[in-house]
Symmetry: C2
Subunit: 236 residues, 2 copies
């Protein structure tokens, strides 16, 4: 993979983030994505993907510029969904590409500094993305979700295991993830949990972020799966 | 406008092209855009915009790569519709942006080498595009056309005059242009005629290109408007 030391630094920070907020103004209960992101940053989120599929491009670029300023101040990474040109124009840290978006290999040639993520749903797609130069693959959707119309199967924990063991690059998980799933995901080796509505639709997005991050830290401990852990098993 | 000498060279060639083919596989009567472009290049076209709004991105990028190779061999300019990232990825000569596409100013900052075109429909839009750093504005639609759903007014020759005199940068014209319009357009000062179906839907796209280019050369002569020009007024 033809990347740079800036890419290495970005991936180091990516791997430390734990929680990966993907925005959706339509699923933010009337609040703006800017408000949600401000709350999430205050709550400790350090990895944010701007994804607003319905937004006209000029508005999307302006919002990307605003989020770039906010995330930079907070020391958080900003990933742009779908558009390599927007990621480059606002000096974002990365771009996330779906199976029908800009091809990974072309994006990698164009942008050796960028974190490039790929949405993958199967071992074959994950292997192809790694081979094409992706920095990470997202594996999903794991569970039924309202965020995305999806005609395929939901992977669940078993499907996740099967895809994750096919790649050497970092991977994230997404799709219908609720707090109660996190211990099992951490057990499976997940280091980075991507989610939309668990934060964007929360009554208090900042508190939701804090709770999820605390749960992730707890979940990292090898004892989490033990039902004798008592109080620690009480999930908010 | 913060551009480079490569940009200057590209604009020199742009100004010499005369005819500006905009592709549309959907309007190519069952033939591929690749076939149409090959025929148009053989017919002398030296300025091509790849515009395929319905095409999935991976196919669009592959087609852009193929057209880049073809146009480079023929010494023709290749402009990509809408996507700055695709233009950069395939080393195209430029990008053409609509009013709801990637903003001109951001594209100019990102790509000082690229020819950046803007679709404009009024004096205000044309002035704004020039101010934002566009290399050229397209003015249209001039006449009713099947290519584009359009809820605004058609500019006609008078509307064209009004928009064209607002800008100092080069301008092109588009929208329902048929061979019989060309003499009047040339009279109005048009140097570059953009069109889709006059070539893509022609029985013989290469011959259509040849005829249009010949007409443009004839049309450049100041005597063309004289009805006493006799045989010269016979338009194919």
């Amino acid at each position: 993979m033809n990347t740079t030391s800036l890419h290495t630094d970005r991936m180091r920070r990516f791997q430390q983030a734990g929680l990966y907020l993907v925005t959706s103004q339509a699923l933010s209960r009337g609040r703006s994505t800017l408000e949600i992101v401000d709350a999430a940053l205050a709550g400790g989120v350090r990895l944010i993907q701007l994804r607003e599929k319905e937004m006209p491009m000029p508005d999307f670029l302006r919002l990307a510029e605003l989020l770039r300023a906010r995330t930079a101040l907070a020391g958080a990474l900003l990933i742009i969904n779908d558009r390599v040109d927007v990621a480059l124009a606002v000096s974002a840290d990365g771009v996330h590409l779906g199976q029908d978006d800009f091809p990974i290999a072309a994006a990698r040639r164009l942008a050796p500094d960028l974190v490039i993520g790929a949405s993958t749903h199967s071992p074959a797609e994950a292997r192809a993305a790694e081979h094409a130069g992706a920095s990470y693959v997202n594996i999903g959707p794991l569970f039924p979700t309202q965020t995305k119309a999806w005609s395929g199967e939901f992977l669940g924990i078993e499907g996740l295991r099967e895809v994750a063991r096919c790649v050497k690059i970092p991977w994230t998980v997404m799709g219908g993830i609720k707090p109660e799933h996190i211990p099992a995901l951490v057990q499976t080796g997940a280091r980075t949990i991507a989610l939309v509505t668990a934060i964007t639709a929360a009554a208090d997005p900042g508190q939701a972020a804090r709770d999820l991050l605390a749960l992730l830290r707890t979940g990292h401990r090898p004892t989490i799966a033990s039902s004798s852990a008592g109080a620690r098993a009480a999930i908010p």
